[in-house]
Symmetry: C2
Subunit: 362 residues, 2 copies
């Protein structure tokens, strides 16, 4: 059984945090160790250790002695050597976040992660995997050599493998954005989000053209084999069916998240239909950017013939010359819930976070 590790924090860092600016960074003097402090305090190293890391009560050190030691340590600007501590306790104080790349969404995740980790007085290690399963493996192996305390996987490509690897190495871990069947996972409620977004698209569609192929809403981008895209397609389909009764397979174009592919796909679609469709569901910001490269070339009046929705939040999306409805994933909540799971459970549960809909002004 994996252990919750996050809750544990060494108090010495807090105790010594607010050091007067003065003698602290005085010179090149070698860094002080507990032995130096011990000598200056006329105590033993073990007593100093106990005093500083907060276990002095349990170790029956008198409050007076503890305070004296803390005082001296503070004066000397003592700070503990994390490697030594990690070696002894086999807890490194490092927490890792693995992201596929640094796009807007993942950067937001990273930002929140970094804050949460530092709030717990631990050290964030953020690494990008380039969406490569082999690289993911290697990184986890490396991290395990650093006795990493726990790992957050975001948008991972091979969750189950990674989870097994972590379990073998006894590393607590949690999945964000892409779920894992074997470990706690926190993801956006993609189905509900897609449903909302599609309903909004449907509600703001311009007048029908009469051409049945053009009068449909299309789903563009993503990878239908991934759970996130799959669920978005589900939500999309549900909304469409509620109105038209059925969804045609060719309404859904979901093979990749790649930018260029999106540009090509929308150009092809435009060619086939002889114009833009009446509604377009754009799956993710990269697809958005790709699609825009084509769409931006169209004349003004054509742009008004289509209702756009994007499953991701992009501030500049609000500033285009046509309205785009957007779904914003709650990155903060995603990360915070992930921490919660790490700290309170180890069983494979799936938590879904409802995203927000940004309605474009029309």
């Amino acid at each position: 059984m994996l252990q919750s590790i996050m809750a544990f924090v060494h108090p010495v860092n807090h105790i010594l945090k607010n050091v007067p600016e003065g003698p602290l960074f005085m010179s090149n003097k070698q860094k002080e160790t507990i032995y130096d402090i011990a000598q200056k305090a006329g105590a033993s190293a073990s007593t100093v250790s106990a005093a500083l890391n907060g276990t002095w009560k349990k170790r029956r050190i008198s409050e007076k002695t503890a305070q004296r030691i803390i005082q001296i340590a503070r004066e000397q600007g003592y700070t503990t050597n994390n490697q030594a501590r990690a070696l002894r306790t086999s807890r490194s104080g490092l927490v890792a976040l693995l992201v596929p790349e640094y796009n807007r969404f993942f950067s937001n995740i990273a930002q929140t992660f970094s804050q949460e980790v530092r709030a717990r007085n631990l050290c964030p290690v953020i690494i990008s995997t380039e969406r490569d399963p082999k690289e993911e493996r290697h990184i986890v192996e490396d991290l395990s050599n650093w006795q990493i305390d726990s790992i957050f996987f975001v948008g991972s490509v091979s969750p189950e493998d990674l989870s097994r690897q972590c379990k073998d190495a006894q590393i607590p871990h949690v999945f964000v954005d892409q779920p894992c069947a074997l470990a706690p996972s926190v993801v956006t409620d993609n189905r509900a989000g897609a449903l909302m977004l599609t309903q909004q698209i449907l509600a703001s569609m311009p007048a029908a053209t009469g051409d049945p192929l053009r009068d449909r809403v299309y789903f563009l981008g993503g990878d239908r084999r991934l759970p996130s895209t799959y669920n978005r397609i589900e939500g999309f389909s549900e909304a469409i069916r509620a109105v038209t009764g059925s969804v045609a397979p060719d309404q859904i174009i979901a093979k990749t998240y790649a930018k260029d592919a999106a540009t090509q796909a929308i150009a092809d679609l435009y060619g086939q239909l002889g114009g833009l469709p009446r509604g377009l569901f754009i799956n993710s910001d990269s697809v958005f950017e790709g699609a825009m490269h084509f769409i931006a070339t169209l004349p003004e009046d054509e742009l008004q013939t289509c209702a756009f929705g994007c499953f991701d939040y992009e501030p500049f999306g609000q500033l285009l010359r046509f309205p785009v409805h957007m779904i914003r994933q709650r990155h903060k909540k995603l990360v915070q819930r992930a921490f919660w799971h790490l700290e309170h459970t180890t069983t494979p549960v799936l938590e879904q976070i409802e995203p927000e809909l940004y309605r474009a002004k029309t």
Copy 2:
């Protein structure tokens, strides 16, 4: 004198890297140590250590023994405990990047940084400082307790303080984006970039209105007390002077990078002038986003009365309903040169990297 640390890599990680998938993650068996390997190889721990970390030649271990040990280690899936190594050698193998926040530019930097660090078989630690000098101090202190090998400061607010702090703790360091007088720094050539951008703005300005105040180019956003903004103002002014002979103080509005402030500033300017100016130099992506919130509310034809330039690259900037020229900072080169300085020098030099101009189609 600081020492270059980056060049040093323990070869064991390379040697053992391509482990067959088989017996590696077999079970929960405790992680092997060099003592276990020593026993299995009928050798001493020190011999195993030497064999694995590549110093066996120097330590006069026979090639035969070394190979045998490496073979056994590989079979057992041995990997070295980085804490123990770090404690002994006082090199952690960790390299830190401090960024103010995760915006597009800094995220790109982080991405490149992460790749470069991993290519050197080290571990990237990326932390955001929230532009708070106190937080910066604390982070550096924490990192020093982790025996961090070196630190990259990006867009730091108090470079000199940090540099001193690092020197006291004997941590090699380098500054990116914001220079430091006391340490190697790699920054974008802001003056040259601003010059290019301003010239482009001037070249694509629409017809004059006749109102001298509106017919000028304005510089919007940033903080003139920071070197980067200062230099951009220099470049801007140089370009303007070449055409008009002089720059008026009120052409330059550079107090902050904050989004909301930018929205307000451009709205005010619009109010004063009774319309948009004939040219606008937007300093940074955050200012761009802020300004757009106002500009997006304007009617189509008004937008054609101003030539826009932005000192930052934002893909969606190309997709707006009016052309925006942009400067792209070479984040890859910035980071790579920073590594170079860390590995080859410790003297305070300033290297400037020329950015690229993206001309908008008109």
